[in-house]
Symmetry: C3
């Protein structure tokens, strides 16, 4: 199903009816509204102006559109900021981040919670049972513009409270943080400082707790909004629109109280954001890398416990990357089908019409700037709508054969303490995912501690701190478990485990890491034996009592096996990563289908969705029967097919 993001407050009321009708004509079923409209809903304190929104919702509903209503907390209006300046966030340099764009609040502010509750209550009461309303979106893009962490006085106060609850006594905090080192001990929680603007790096345990504190706040803040909405809007689901390559808070924890996950898919902009090589960036500039959107689909399907939307789908060029090319013809359609293939319930385009004003005036919409005329992306959306109708109800999404365990806390830990300045957890996870997908495998992304019983292979790119639950899940996995470098290298208190890394994973791996090396670009170490390639960026120097499948040149273990557990003791280059993944698949008995760099495959029930990211054509094997598209796939095309053989 298709949706669209719409801002009735930005257009003359006279245009609403036409807009709604044209949405339906294009094949759109859902419309998201309201998430930035606070200044129009409440232009001054307690002076609510619901009239326009009442009418807008009625118009949309009357046209047959199902409405998703956003709470407007991402954009507190000026009068509120002036009344309560302590809602403003601070950056890491200690500067107030002021009014004039969006997300100018810190969740540490008590005033902000009070005001958020007030506006959410008002809107939920007003529209909770509107007949057109099917669901809610809380706020908008938590963490966008680096807003998860804030470094102001309100944050310090709230952080001290959080520490007080967590550690009970300063002795316990001092002990946990190793504060005796450099005389950093405190005698009262009120003595704790923010971990910024220190002379040299702050204690990583201090920084890690600061990150956890903020992540906890996001979950608690979102739950506060959900509780209010649920009290006033029975029968409607709630989601939040998460982002791509934003890992500053634990999305699993936030989604625990959401009904479904959603995310905002800007495949091209992310090519500039993710640390690709320049060659890769040029290669994928106008189509996006073929694993960017899929990675997030699989991640958010996991975050949403099986249910997810694409709440915002890029419909053409955007405005916010360093460079913003026009997507190749066919890509808007391809991305839409890619989302469907991975289980998206709805793909909702951002936005209905390009705004000719303000910050995003260079952001394409389904319609040309300010106009009632479809853009190139709008035309592609119309085609997809027809194809969806043709294809009918898609089969259910089944569990994948492979799981990647994704751990937000490992992202924070490696940001807090990179040790080698290119050890980037998101990059590691993405590259391992890419290697699996190049082998034609479907992948689930799961949280640490999730049950792993049904997977033939479980991939743990790394997991810095291994909780009891995560340890138990890994130990009870049935399939092959591949553990990566740095795993188990820190306790909950951000200390090296007393029995050395991988700590809780020692029984599984039979390894002990005694030294670690971060390797500068250009410095590699050769790995040979059962797998071949090079270590780059990182190497764990370990002693082992496991079987050594491959060694470094100096004889140290590079890949070990103990039972079903493989342990890779380095960051692998592309060759070594491929070699390891081949071994994993072979060991796990997984059937693979090697794909060229521009082709991907995702199954949904008995349907095989092939996507060609171009620029070369590609042909499906003859053993498939096409349901949509053809065997001969031109660049930027999709083919949906059924396999004629039992297994391909």
């Amino acid at each position: 199903m298709l949706g669209v993001c719409y801002y009735p407050e930005q257009w003359d009321e006279a245009r609403w009816t036409t807009d709604a009708r044209r949405m339906r004509e294009l094949g759109i079923s859902f419309v998201r509204i309201g998430e930035f409209a606070w200044s129009r809903i409440e232009p001054a304190r307690d002076q609510f102006n619901f009239g326009w929104l009442d009418r807008a919702m009625d118009v949309l509903h009357a046209a047959g559109l199902k409405i998703v209503l956003g709470t407007p907390t991402a954009t507190p209006p000026k009068w509120l900021v002036d009344e309560c300046p302590d809602i403003l966030p601070y950056d890491e340099q200690g500067r107030v981040r002021g009014f004039g764009s969006r997300r100018h609040y810190t969740m540490s502010s008590q005033a902000w919670w009070r005001e958020s509750a007030r506006i959410v209550t008002a809107i939920a009461q007003r529209y909770g049972d509107h007949p057109g309303l099917v669901g809610w979106q809380t706020d908008n893009e938590y963490g966008c513009h680096d807003t998860t962490l804030s470094w102001g006085p309100e944050d310090l106060r709230a952080f001290q409270d959080w520490l007080r609850r967590r550690y009970q006594s300063c002795d316990q905090l001092n002990e946990a943080w190793g504060a005796v080192f450099w005389s950093m001990e405190v005698a009262d929680f009120a003595e704790v400082t923010l971990p910024n603007l220190t002379v040299t790096e702050a204690n990583p345990a201090h920084r890690m707790d600061f990150w956890r504190f903020h992540s906890d706040q996001v979950a608690a803040y979102d739950l506060m909004q959900c509780d209010i909405i649920r009290a006033h809007s029975p029968g409607r689901w709630i989601t939040h629109n998460f982002m791509g390559f934003v890992s500053d808070f634990d999305h699993f924890a936030v989604a625990d109280h959401l009904d479904l996950a959603s995310w905002d898919s800007y495949p091209i902009g992310f090519v500039e954001k993710f640390p690709f090589s320049e060659a890769e960036r040029n290669r994928w500039a106008e189509t996006s890398h073929p694993d960017i959107a899929p990675w997030h689909h699989d991640l958010y399907r996991g975050v949403g416990r099986g249910r997810f939307w694409v709440m915002e789908q890029q419909p053409g060029p955007v405005n916010w990357a360093a460079w913003n090319p026009v997507p190749k013809p066919g890509m808007v359609r391809l991305w839409t089908w890619e989302a469907m293939a991975h289980g998206a319930e709805v793909v909702s385009y951002f936005r209905w019409r390009q705004a000719p004003f303000a910050q995003e005036q260079y952001h394409a919409g389904l319609n040309l700037p300010g106009a009632d005329a479809l853009s190139p992306g709008g035309l592609e959306a119309g085609r997809v709508a027809q194809e969806i109708a043709q294809l009918g109800q898609l089969p259910a999404v089944q569990q994948a054969p492979v799981a990647i365990v994704f751990d937000y806390a490992s992202y924070w830990a490696t940001m807090v303490q990179p040790q080698g300045c290119d050890f980037r957890y998101e990059e590691l996870a993405f590259r391992w995912y890419e290697a699996l997908r190049r082998r034609g495998l479907d992948v689930d992304v799961v949280r640490p501690g999730a049950p792993l019983g049904g997977y033939a292979a479980v991939i743990v790119p790394t997991m810095i701190h291994v909780t009891d639950a995560a340890q138990a899940a890994l130990e009870s996995a049935k399939g092959v478990v591949l553990i990566g470098p740095r795993a188990g290298s820190r306790t909950r208190s951000f200390a090296i485990p007393h029995d050395l890394p991988p700590g809780p994973l020692h029984d599984l791996t039979q390894n002990r890491v005694i030294e670690v090396a971060s390797l500068r670009p250009g410095l590699t170490q050769t790995v040979s034996g059962g797998v071949e390639g090079h270590a780059t960026r990182w190497r764990d120097h370990a002693t082992t009592t496991a079987q050594v499948l491959a060694r470094f040149e100096d004889g140290g273990p590079a890949l070990t096996q103990h039972g079903q557990a493989l342990h890779l003791l380095c960051w692998p280059d592309e060759a070594l990563l491929g070699s390891v993944m081949d071994l994993v698949c072979h060991t796990a008995g997984l059937h693979t289908m090697p794909l060229p760099e521009h082709i991907r495959l995702r199954r949904r029930g008995d349907l095989w969705f092939f996507t060609n990211y171009g620029p070369e054509a590609w042909s499906l094997p003859e053993s498939f029967e096409c349901v949509l598209g053809n065997h001969q796939m031109p660049a930027q095309s999709v083919t949906v097919a059924k396999s004629l053989s039992e297994k391909v």
Copy 2:
């Protein structure tokens, strides 16, 4: 004629007479003084110490030098800053920019206007009718060190006032800015914030108005000084010394009330400042790129409505670039003749003697540091002085066959909203100018709205917002008009035109831009047809009813023609740019003279000035008769010649 910048306050009074005599002996006619001397003129409030300056002016006058007196407002003294700390500017990071160098004031400060008026009045009253005085320079290098924009409380107050005058009501401001987007609406002008330190980018309309406000302030502040001077100094002209590659304010608007323009020419330092490639920077490190000084000569001849000086000419190595090489022998002479060729009335060297102390002690002068001995540059200046005398009165400067329309507001607009981070307006304009000059053409640089009737070709690299006057001038142009990418892409309110770009230029071009692509380095699009090459950095995707002269690979129009109007829908690489310029010249019936990369030509009356930037020699065609120099031009040389044929 030659001049020199001199600082009597920096040298023992005993040396003044010798200095003045040696200036005259070298062939110098004009001397600029006084522009940094506030602390000596008024060492404490209202305690004026004019005696030394009286004597200095008398000495210079007695030696036969014509004096240009600068107002000292670029360097408010410490006692004044301590009395009125609110004159200090703020940087975009919100920090006060303190005392200790120069230009430490914001024009938004009311105290600063009051104090400026006070000191200018005192000096104008004292020296307005001094017999040696021929002209005035206001302040020094507006905008230098990024001082056009300031971000403090005084700036906010003055900006709010400016908005109040402009928009009358908040409704109009909210409407113009599209402030409904992200709930940025204000209910009172006092609610408007500075557009810095926001969470993500501020509204570009907000930022654009902030830039306009500051540009307006420069013009008003300068006019205030001019009004005072004119009241007390009848019969003297007024100028301001503008800079190279500084476009933060509208120089045309400032010069509207000046008698002539002047600029400070540091050809080598600008090689590091302008975004040349590293190869170009190495190529031109010791001579400067052959179009840097000419571009500014042509620009400031336009700014000065035909009259301009070089107020400061680099006489050797300077101190302020990342690297500061010694100019190749001959370059000081060459630059001086280059300025004359382009119509400079006076070339004034900075400075008479290298100061052995303070910030610019590594800045060469005509004399060695602290000494009464000519530097290598001083020797070259002496040679030029003799040559000027030999050559006698130069012919008048005539209108060039080609005009480039240069639009300061387009610089601000693309800085505010680059969309692709290498879309640099100054670079675009410079490259198009360079392409014309490589074809041996003389060029005028004119402001938007200037009459274009007399030009065979009019070049508009881009013009983001097209005013009514600019539209009218372009529509009434007689020659070929070449319009570049992004033209007409924004209204006065910084919105996309309701009928899509190029908005007011639609009738001229017959094009509509429906999408734009910014292209990262490495990403290009091939153009072929009537012109050949590649688009880089930017492409406008357009629909057209004009004749399509060249297309992109996907069939989209790249270069269109409608009547005399050519529209290039991309940023051209060097090959495409050359191809387009060849077509323009051919269409316009312009006779070109292709020149190697190190040779340039500029005509003045019947004199043809050839400059060889080296390192290779070059020979003039035989059809010229040399007036100065020879047919065989060695590296770093000048030849002035007359054409023996009607047209070459």
Copy 3:
């Protein structure tokens, strides 16, 4: 002799006895303790808790270890910072540098001096005559984390006081600084500002004095600690642990009142810190460049007037560089012997046991994290201990045949005024040292003004300001004196000398510099004649009456000779540098032994220490008899040998 750094406060008291015993078993004689333990010694004001430290010292002493006790002033505890917030330093951006790591104090704070004196007195009184105590370390790593300069209100006040003492009157200050330039004159010392956050660069004379002021403060602060210690701890020596590649204060001046110098040797981390090329960084990533540690050994032997320790020796990977590889096997041993070869009295490893918590948890120790088991580095240390015992007392260190004059003030001067942004004094000095060492020469590093009589060659890479003492020493040198570019280019007041550079060195060199060129990367100038190669980065354009040994292409002098004085008028590339050094050695009659890039040699008495930094093997000439190791030296090995011929 070997030592180790130990933190009893970080471990259960129960482990101390075992630790002490195992240290002795490993062959360790000295233990440094206490330097970060303020919060445990004085957990609240005047509540001293000496018990644990009493017991720790007794345990160590009982085990036969000699104790070096550090004063804990590098880590003021939180209660003190809260009581006296004005002890906190400010960064150049004007931000307070807060509590939470270390070195969070400015020496400008009067409160800080009072508190420092109080804690040092308390500790010196308590332990001054402890039978296990042999020496003291003041504070820890002055200048670490850019803490020499601070930019807060306390710094301004103290700086004004320093200026008042230095200049007596504002007239003298204004004159010295050339403050008339840009109206920067002050009428009261209280008007002087900090030289940061100015609109453009502050006056370099102002900045230079600010740097001198801070350097003076370091010496005075350290002397204050020394005076207290000496009053209470008779018969014990005092040192400070200096750093590598930190030149922000005059180390010679600090060491004037120390009994011996010491420094902290992290050879691998420095590979990332020093401006090596990427190729060099990769080449030496796992061994360090073969001149990094030796350079500092020679420097600190000079700073310590012949006596120095390595107070902290890297024993494995560290945590603080951009990348932190594991040293190649053998390097910990090699570095230890390298230090001994250069005269180190003791090599003390940092640290006994890797801390599993806090900022340095990735910093290796002699024992594994938290464990009682030797790390790979610990095993190498044990081997060295045995070898030292075998070899017995080493011969005394004799004066080297070559001296490099190292001038901290030249570092400040070129930082204050680089003129070419890659003119880095430390790099220049290091490269010239490297060139000498590649020729098998032993080198002393001496301060300006030190007697130079005994040296066959004296190398002055540059010396921006030449004091009378430095001039006298150079003029009375007996050997060849090689002077580098920019020498003598500034007076004490940071002005160009009235008789032009090299000012006081004119008589020695017979040159006058009339212009200088800084050359961007890619821009070089060819030198030919008696030496061959290229100038890069810098060229002095000079007139000369000396003999010209080599010239630039334009005929200007590149290398001149006047008597024994050679003057190189540029920054030489590697070829030119080698050519010049060959000429110096030849002229000075020095016997050289050309060594491959990975081999170095240092003599101590009749012992020749050869070090092989790998990865290739190398063979000693047959004319040596090996005392330790073999003629055939594998990678990462040491051979100590005696020469069988009179001279090799």
